[in-house]
């Protein structure tokens, strides 16, 4: 890959801006995101409040920046959790096969049969809405697809000669799995992980919008969008900016994910 493709540049810039905003938001924001001000109530974008202020006079830009960090943290932890749980299940099921495989995959398929968001809704209803509840619920919802991908890769990898060679070298099964099988599953997993990051972001926004997400007054893009609904006619910026944040970030992640897939798939190389 000699020159960067425009898609990669656009995706990189979008994700980069969000990441930067989130990082900066952790130490500094133009206003205290929780500070209420009656004078600024529903203020339109101006020199003082670049992206306007909400119904309590809180600065939208500051809230978006803090929300970016919250959303990124939730998505990241969700993806890591799902990867960890799914990979373990997939490796065990794929490598040991037989009854282990059948039982694990039966449970997995049962989970897969629910739409992810529905499963998360159910779990949140039981556990109550908070940040860790969301992470757990979404993690459980997403790990079955990871398990499937890993199991598929393991099924073909375990028949390869280099795994047979490892067995002949008197290596234990755990060592063979960790040293030879796992590293060779990484490529499809990275691709899956990027798209999952996008799903998690969207699902978290959707859950927050439904009121099952991070409870107010903490800001997430989803609950900001939800809170803007009654004021959509008077203050369009309240809904517009969080919405833009969600869609542009998703677009950026998807563009990067596509580029990553092209790069990791040898068949796509050099075309």
């Amino acid at each position: 890959m000699s020159a960067l493709k425009p898609n990669v540049v656009i995706g990189g810039v979008l994700v980069g801006v969000v990441a930067l905003a989130a990082l900066v938001g952790m130490i500094w924001t133009p206003f205290n995101p929780l500070a209420v001000s009656f004078t600024a109530r529903l203020a339109p974008p101006s020199e003082l409040h670049w992206l306007g202020a909400d119904e309590f006079g809180r600065d939208v830009l500051s809230r978006l920046m803090v929300a970016a960090a919250t959303s990124a943290r939730i998505s990241l932890l969700t993806v890591v959790g799902a990867l960890f749980a799914g990979t373990t299940v997939g490796l065990v099921a794929g490598y040991f096969q037989g009854w282990t495989d059948r039982i694990l995959m039966a449970l997995n398929n049962a989970l897969l049969a629910f739409p992810g968001i529905l499963l998360a809704l159910g779990l949140l209803a039981i556990m109550g809405a908070n940040e860790y509840g969301i992470i757990l619920a979404l993690g459980v919802a997403y790990s079955p697809s990871v398990a499937r991908v890993v199991r598929g890769a393991v099924l073909s990898l375990r028949e390869t000669d280099f795994v047979a060679a490892s067995r002949i070298m008197d290596n234990s099964e755990i060592y063979t799995i960790v040293r030879h099988i796992l590293p060779n599953c990484i490529a499809p997993l990275i691709v899956l992980a990027t798209s999952m990051f996008g799903w998690a972001l969207l699902a978290e926004s959707a859950l927050s919008f439904l009121g099952l997400g991070v409870p107010p007054p903490a800001a997430t893009w989803g609950n900001m969008l939800a809170a803007s609904r009654p004021f959509i006619a008077q203050a369009v910026w309240l809904g517009l900016f969080p919405g833009l944040c969600i869609s542009l970030t998703l677009m950026g992640i998807n563009l990067l994910g596509d580029a990553l897939r092209d790069r990791l798939d040898p068949r796509m190389r050099g075309v």
């Binding site: 280099f162 060679a165 002949i168």
Partner: protein, 532 residues
């Protein structure tokens, strides 16, 4: 006599977009009805040169110079439409793997009819008669039934016959056969080639046959072109090329042909590895509606390998030789029967198994598949010593370096990854890994089949050398009788999961008892036959 030539390729050059030349100034001609072979190792440009005749080279490769005259017509100036009319009708092609060149979702009848519809004005019934005639001619058992069957219903040899039928249906003046039988085993290979030669002689078709196998090409061709690095190094009549090759490279290729190794004294003492009445069943797959029946891959096989002895296991594809090798390696569990190492059973979990495991190592056919792509050469070989508790970490590193030197790999290769090595170097790494722990018994499953001719000769020499030095016993599994003749002390011939013949190498090669062994030996083209 240039006018009498059917095909004249002159000064052909092919290059990648970045200007790298892959075929350099290739000039040759084919007379009507003549059989010409192009021989070369992988990367010599032989396939590209042949494909360029019909502009069938991959799109990334362009023709930069040269003329191609076919039957007085300049092909390089033809447009796509005119080329299409030529392809199939006047110049037929047969490719290496018939499973991928036949459309899996179309019946044989429809595929064969396609060409006739495009290039002839025959009516439906006429087409059908012609197809049936041709299928009968290529010795398909039931041509009528074959019309409605799909490619996967046929074996590799049968599919290649069908490909041949489809190419010859249009009675082309030239047939380009690109490694037509490389994917087939020796006996089938011979049948298909004889058929191809007979059939083309009947129609006066010339053949341009491309292969890496000099002895196979020598058997059927009138003239041979030897290619290397995109150039033709020698263009000679077959008889002349074998008897008195002009170029050093050709001599090199010829001397790389396997030759019989020295006869060694028989090993004394009890057998190191003993297999008694071994049965291996493959479980059938549970389908959605029907359960596919299982298959008995080995039906009561016995085998003995003496200390320091090299026993070759030969047979066609599906004979069970690989299954037997994997069972002895402990990679699959036999259904019945016993495998003994130094008189002790090696059933999993027994004391015998724990003793056997480090003593038995394996070299696989394709080193690209048997080496973990994400490990360096050093760590690959070092891994073989991981479970050796009697060696310190320093001693292990010393052993790795020593072993790499032994298999002829330079020290600076130790930090490379498998994909940065050549095929021969990769197989050397695989061998280094297998011998690093100084095993008493080595199983080599087709260790030289994926390699080029000259590389194969080097690896076989290395193998013999290491075996003599370390004195390990070896089970050498191969369909390549040339390699077997060079390296084995004893030969075991398998067919359909059974041992049909077993004996000392000289005895099996010189006076085979079983008809199948004779058939196998006859099917192997030998250069000696042409020289004398």
């Amino acid at each position: 006599m240039a006018n009498a030539d059917l095909l004249v390729v002159a000064g052909l050059r092919l290059a990648l977009r970045d200007g790298k030349e892959i075929v350099k100034d290739v000039t040759f001609s084919v007379r009507p009805g003549e059989i010409v072979g192009i021989v070369g190792e992988s990367g010599s440009g032989k396939t590209l040169a042949a494909r360029a005749i019909l502009s069938l080279q991959p799109p990334a490769i362009r023709r930069t110079a040269g003329t191609i005259q076919f039957d007085g017509q300049e092909l390089t100036r033809l447009n796509a439409r005119a080329l299409r009319q030529l392809r199939g009708a006047r110049i037929g092609m047969v490719f290496q793997e018939p499973m991928t060149s036949l459309d899996p979702s179309m019946t044989i009848g429809r595929q064969l009819e396609e060409g006739l519809v495009l290039h002839t004005k025959l009516s439906g019934p006429q087409r059908r008669t012609r197809i049936l005639e041709m299928l009968a001619r290529v010795a398909l058992a039931d041509p009528e039934a074959a019309l409605g069957a799909f490619p996967h219903h046929f074996s590799g040899g049968m599919r290649q016959r069908i490909m041949l039928a489809s190419a010859m249906l249009l009675r082309p003046a030239l047939l380009i056969a690109d490694e037509p039988t490389t994917a087939l085993d020796a006996v089938v290979q011979r049948d298909v080639l004889e058929l191809m030669v007979d059939l083309t002689r009947e129609y006066g078709t010339a053949i341009l046959i491309i292969s890496h196998d000099l002895s196979m090409v020598a058997r059927y061709t009138d003239r041979v072109l030897v290619m290397r690095h995109g150039e033709i190094v020698e263009d000679n009549t077959t008889a002349e090329l074998i008897r008195a090759p002009r170029e050093p490279y050709t001599r090199n290729l010829l001397s790389a042909m396997p030759h019989r190794g020295p006869t060694r004294p028989k090993p004394s003492g009890p057998p190191l590895v003993e297999v008694n009445n071994l049965i291996v069943d493959y479980k059938g797959s549970a389908g959605l509606f029907l359960n596919r029946p299982g298959k008995r891959a080995l039906q009561g096989v016995g085998l003995r390998v003496g200390p320091g002895e090299v026993v070759a296991l030969v047979g066609g594809s599906g004979s069970g030789k690989t299954t037997l090798g994997r069972a002895i390696a402990g990679l699959l569990d036999p259904t019945k029967g016993e495998i003994l190492f130094e008189g002790q059973t090696i059933a999993r979990g027994t004391e015998g198994w724990r003793r056997y495991r480090p003593q038995c190592q394996m070299v696989f056919q394709d080193p690209f598949l048997s080496l973990d792509p994400r490990m360096t050469v050093h760590s690959l070989v070092r891994e073989a010593l991981r479970a050796a508790r009697n060696l310190t970490s320093v001693a292990k590193n010393v052993r790795v370096r020593e072993t790499l030197r032994e298999v002829g790999l330079a020290e600076d290769l130790a930090t490379r990854y498998p994909h940065e090595l050549s095929g021969g170097q990769r197989q050397r790494v695989a061998i280094a890994r297998a011998i690093a722990r100084r095993p008493a018994f080595l199983i080599a499953d087709e260790p030289v089949s994926a390699l080029d001719v000259t590389v194969r000769a080097q690896i076989l020499d290395l193998f013999a050398d290491l075996q003599a030095r370390h004195g390990f016993s070896c089970l050498f599994i191969s369909h390549d009788l040339g390699a077997v003749e060079q390296i084995a002390d004893r030969v075991v011939v398998m067919r359909d999961g059974e041992v049909v013949e077993e004996g000392d190498r000289d005895q099996v090669f010189d006076s085979p008892c079983h008809p199948y062994t004779r058939q196998l030996l006859m099917a192997v083209p030998r250069l000696e036959a042409f020289v004398t």
